[in-house]
C-alpha cells in the first residue's frame, strides 16, 4: 500500500492566509456577540448567546486551520484494482482543485469587469440594455465565439429571459419602457 499527500505545496501560504483572515473576522464577530449580551436581566438567553456559541468554536477552528495549514488527511491508495483505479480517477474530477492558469485568471478578471459594468448600468439603463452589454461583453472576452454568432445569440437570450420574466410577473428595471414591446407594462 502507498500513501499520498494530496495537497499541492503552492497552496500552503494561501491556506494560512485564508485561515488568518477568517480568524480575524470570527474574532471580531465573537467580540460583537459578547457585547450584545449573553443573558437578559431575567436570566433568559440574550441576543449574543447563540452567536457566541457559534463564533467561539469558529475562532478555535480557525486557529486549528492556521496551525495545520495545508496538511490534510493523506489518502491511502489501495492495492492496484481496476475498479478502484477508475473510481479514484473519476472522484479526482470532483475533488480536484483545478489549476487556474494565466488565461483562466484573465477570463475570471473579464467576468468581474463586465459584472461591475452591469452593476453600474442595471438600474440606470434598464435590464434589457444592461444585460445585452453584459452578455455581449462576456461572449467576446471569455469565449472564442465569433461576433456574427455572439450578437444574435445574446439578443435571443435576452429576449427569452425578458419575455419569460414578464410572463411570470417579475418586475425588472426599465427606465426607457422597452418592456411594452413584449406586452409588458
Amino acid at each position: 500500500m502507498q500513501t499520498t499527500n494530496d495537497a499541492p505545496s503552492k497552496f500552503l501560504n494561501g491556506n494560512r492566509i485564508t485561515a488568518f483572515v477568517l480568524l480575524l473576522v470570527s474574532g471580531n464577530l465573537l467580540n460583537f456577540s459578547l457585547r450584545y449580551g449573553l443573558f437578559l436581566e431575567d436570566g433568559a438567553p440574550g441576543p449574543g448567546l447563540f452567536p457566541a456559541l457559534i463564533t467561539g468554536p469558529l475562532v478555535g477552528l480557525c486557529i486549528a486551520w492556521l496551525i495545520i495549514g495545508d496538511r490534510g488527511v493523506p489518502k491511502l491508495e489501495n492495492e492496484s484494482n481496476e475498479i478502484d483505479d477508475l473510481t479514484a480517477e473519476i472522484e479526482a474530477k470532483l475533488d480536484e482543485i483545478q489549476e487556474i492558469d494565466s488565461d483562466g485568471k484573465k477570463r475570471i478578471g473579464w467576468v468581474f469587469f463586465w459584472t461591475i459594468i452591469m452593476f453600474a448600468t442595471f438600474e440606470r439603463l434598464g435590464s434589457i440594455i444592461s444585460l445585452s452589454i453584459y452578455a455581449t461583453g462576456l461572449l467576446f472576452s471569455i469565449s472564442n465565439i465569433k461576433s456574427w454568432k455572439a450578437i444574435p445569440s445574446t439578443l435571443l437570450m435576452i429576449l427569452l429571459v425578458t419575455f419569460g420574466a414578464i410572463k411570470i410577473g417579475v418586475t425588472l428595471p426599465d427606465p426607457f419602457n422597452l418592456f411594452r414591446i413584449f406586452g409588458g407594462q
Binding site: 500500500m1 502507498q2 500513501t3 494530496d6 495537497a7 497552496f11 485564508t18 460583537f32 450584545y36 437578559l40 431575567d42 436570566g43 433568559a44 438567553p45 441576543p47 447563540f50 457559534i54 463564533t55 469558529l58 477552528l61 480557525c62 486549528a64 486551520w65 495545520i68 488527511v73 489518502k75 491511502l76 481496476e82 475498479i83 477508475l86 473510481t87 473519476i90 472522484e91 474530477k93 470532483l94 482543485i97 483545478q98 483562466g104 485568471k105 467576468v111 452591469m118 452593476f119 442595471f122 438600474e123 435590464s127 444585460l131 453584459y134 452578455a135 462576456l138 461572449l139 471569455i142 469565449s143 472564442n144 465565439i145 445574446t154 429571459v161 420574466a165 411570470i168 417579475v170 425588472l172
Partner: protein, 486 residues
C-alpha cells in the same frame, strides 16, 4: 404544468457540466418568490429531480459527474459510451430511475405516519433533533473535518444577521437598513453553489464537449431482464440511505454498485460496460432522491444540502415543513408527493424520446452556457427584493465560496446550516426562555436525550475513524521509510 417546466429546467441545468442538483436547485430558487406556494414547491422539487437525470447524461457521455452520487454511474456508463452503447446506458438509467421512483413514492406516503408521531415534539425535542441533524453535517465535511466545521459555523452565523427574534434589536447589521431583514440567504446559496462553480469552471481547463452519436436508445427484452434485479436492489439501498440525514449521497450509489458486482455471475464485466453497473446506482440515486424528502416533510429536518435549499423555498412561502404540514397545509404536502409521482412519468418521457435534445445542449460551447447562466443568476438575485443589494450579496457569496473552495473548504455544510441555524436558535432560546435560562432543562426530555446520545455516537464514530486512518497512514509511512532505507 409546473412539474413539466420544473423537470425541463432541471434537465437543462443538470446537463451543464459540473452542475449538480444542489447547484441547479439553488440557481432556480428565485422562482419561489414569484410563483404561488404550491407551484413553487412542486417546480423546485421537480427541478431537483430533473437535474439528477441531467447529471446522468454528463456522467455517461462525458465521464464528468455532476456530484458525488454520479461517480458510480460514470464507471460503467462511460465504458458503455466508449463501446458505442451510450443510448442504451441512458435508456436503462431512465427506466431504472422510473421504476425506483415509482416504488419510492409509495414509501414517501408513510412520511405522514412519521409526521403524526412527531407532532407531539416540544421545543426541546425540536432542538435536540435539529442539533442531531447539524451533527450529521459532519458526514458532509469530506476529508477535512476542521474545514467542514468552519463551513458549517459560517452558515450558522449567516442565519444570525438581522433583527433578534426576541429583543428585536439589530445583530451584525453594521448599520445597514438592508440587513435588518437578514442576509438574503437565497442569494448566498446561489452564490456559494452556483456562482462559485461557474467561476471555477470559467477559470479552469476547458470542459469536454460531446459531439458523438449516442446510438439507439431501444432496450431489448434481455437488457431489461438483466437489469431488473439491479434496479430493485438499488431502489431498496437508495431508499434506506435517503432516510439518514447527512449520509453522503455517494455512499448509496457505491453501495448499490458494490452489491451488483458481488451478486453478478460475471463480475469481470464491471468497469467495462456492464449494464447492471449503470442500472443499480442510478436506481439507488433516484430512490434516495425521493426518500430524502421524508425527513424534510415529516420532521422538518433537511437531510442534505439540496433539501436545505428546498426548505428555504418552503420558508419563503411562509410554510413550515414538519409534523404540522400534513395538518395545516395538506394540499402542499400531498401535492408535492403527487407531483413527484407525476415527475417520474414526465422524466421517462423526456429522457427516452427526447434524450437527443438534451444531449444537444452539450454541443453548445460551455462559455455561452455560462454567460446565459450568469445573466440569469443576476436577474434571479434581483427578483429577491427588487434591489441590487441581493445581486451584490450573490457576487460576494460567490467570490467567498470560490475562494474557500480553492482551499478545500466544502460548501455543502454551509448550505445546510444556513437553513438550520435560525430553527436551531429559535428552539434553543425558547427552550431556555420557558425554563428561566436553566441549561439543565435542555436534558429534561427523553426524546431530546436520545438525540443527544446519537450525537455523541456520531461524533465519536467520526473521530475514531479519523484517528484510525491517521494511525494507519503513520504505520504505512514508517514501513515505507524502513523499506526505503533498506
Amino acid at each position: 404544468m409546473w412539474a413539466v417546466i420544473g423537470c425541463g429546467l432541471g434537465m437543462i441545468t443538470g446537463v451543464l457540466p459540473g452542475f449538480g442538483p444542489a447547484a441547479a436547485t439553488g440557481l432556480l430558487l428565485p422562482f419561489a418568490f414569484v410563483l404561488p406556494p404550491a407551484a413553487s414547491i412542486v417546480m423546485l422539487a421537480c427541478i431537483y429531480y430533473g437535474s439528477m437525470y441531467g447529471g446522468t447524461i454528463t456522467s455517461v457521455l462525458l465521464n464528468v459527474p455532476g456530484e458525488a452520487s454520479s461517480v458510480a454511474t460514470c464507471i460503467d456508463g462511460y465504458a458503455m459510451t466508449k463501446r458505442g452503447m451510450a443510448g442504451k446506458a441512458l435508456a436503462i438509467s431512465a427506466v431504472g430511475s422510473f421504476i425506483a421512483g415509482v416504488i419510492a413514492v409509495f414509501g414517501l406516503i408513510f412520511s405522514q405516519k412519521i409526521a403524526a408521531f412527531a407532532i407531539s415534539f416540544t421545543y426541546l425535542d425540536v432542538f435536540g433533533f435539529s442539533l442531531l441533524a447539524l451533527t450529521l453535517v459532519v458526514g458532509l465535511t469530506g476529508d477535512s473535518m476542521i474545514k467542514g466545521l468552519i463551513s458549517a459555523c459560517l452558515g450558522l452565523f449567516i442565519g444570525m444577521v438581522g433583527l433578534d427574534i426576541y429583543t428585536g434589536g439589530p445583530r451584525f447589521t453594521m448599520g445597514l437598513d438592508q440587513l435588518q431583514e437578514g442576509l438574503p440567504f437565497i442569494a448566498i446559496i446561489m452564490g456559494i453553489f452556483g456562482l462559485s462553480e461557474i467561476l471555477e469552471s470559467i477559470g479552469g481547463k476547458k470542459q469536454p464537449d460531446y459531439s458523438g452519436n449516442i446510438g439507439s436508445t431501444l432496450l431489448k427484452w434481455q437488457d431489461f431482464k438483466d437489469s431488473i434485479g439491479s434496479i430493485l436492489r438499488g431502489t431498496g439501498i437508495g431508499f434506506f440511505f435517503g432516510l439518514l440525514p447527512g449520509s453522503p449521497a455517494a455512499a448509496s450509489s457505491f453501495a448499490a454498485y458494490t452489491v451488483e458486482k458481488r451478486v453478478s455471475k460475471t463480475p469481470e464485466k464491471f468497469g467495462k460496460g456492464a449494464i447492471q453497473g449503470v442500472a443499480g446506482p442510478e436506481s439507488a440515486n433516484n430512490a434516495l432522491g425521493i426518500s430524502n424528502f421524508i425527513p424534510l416533510l415529516a420532521l422538518g429536518i433537511p437531510s442534505s444540502a439540496t433539501m436545505a435549499i428546498l426548505l428555504a423555498a418552503f420558508t419563503i412561502n411562509g410554510l413550515t415543513p414538519g409534523p404540522l404540514l400534513f395538518t395545516n397545509n395538506p394540499e402542499i404536502a400531498w401535492g408535492l408527493i403527487a407531483s413527484l409521482a407525476l415527475a417520474n412519468v414526465i422524466l421517462l418521457v423526456m429522457a427516452l424520446p427526447l434524450v437527443r435534445m438534451w444531449v444537444s445542449i452539450l454541443k453548445i460551447p460551455t462559455m455561452i452556457l455560462y454567460t446565459i447562466t450568469l445573466s440569469f443568476m443576476s436577474i434571479g438575485a434581483y427578483v429577491i427584493d427588487g434591489s441590487m443589494f441581493s445581486v451584490l450579496v450573490l457576487w460576494i457569496a460567490g467570490i467567498v465560496g470560490f475562494t474557500l473552495r480553492r482551499f478545500g473548504v466544502p460548501m455543502a455544510p454551509a448550505a445546510l446550516t444556513i437553513v438550520l441555524g435560525p430553527m436551531l436558535e429559535k428552539s434553543f432560546r425558547t427552550a431556555l426562555q420557558v425554563n428561566y435560562g436553566e441549561f439543565s432543562s435542555l436534558f429534561s426530555s427523553s426524546r431530546a436525550n436520545i438525540a443527544y446520545g446519537l450525537i455523541v455516537v456520531v461524533l465519536a464514530t467520526k473521530m475514531i475513524s479519523s484517528i484510525r486512518k491517521s494511525n494507519k497512514v503513520r504505520k504505512m509511512k514508517s514501513s515505507e521509510a524502513i523499506s526505503g532505507s533498506k
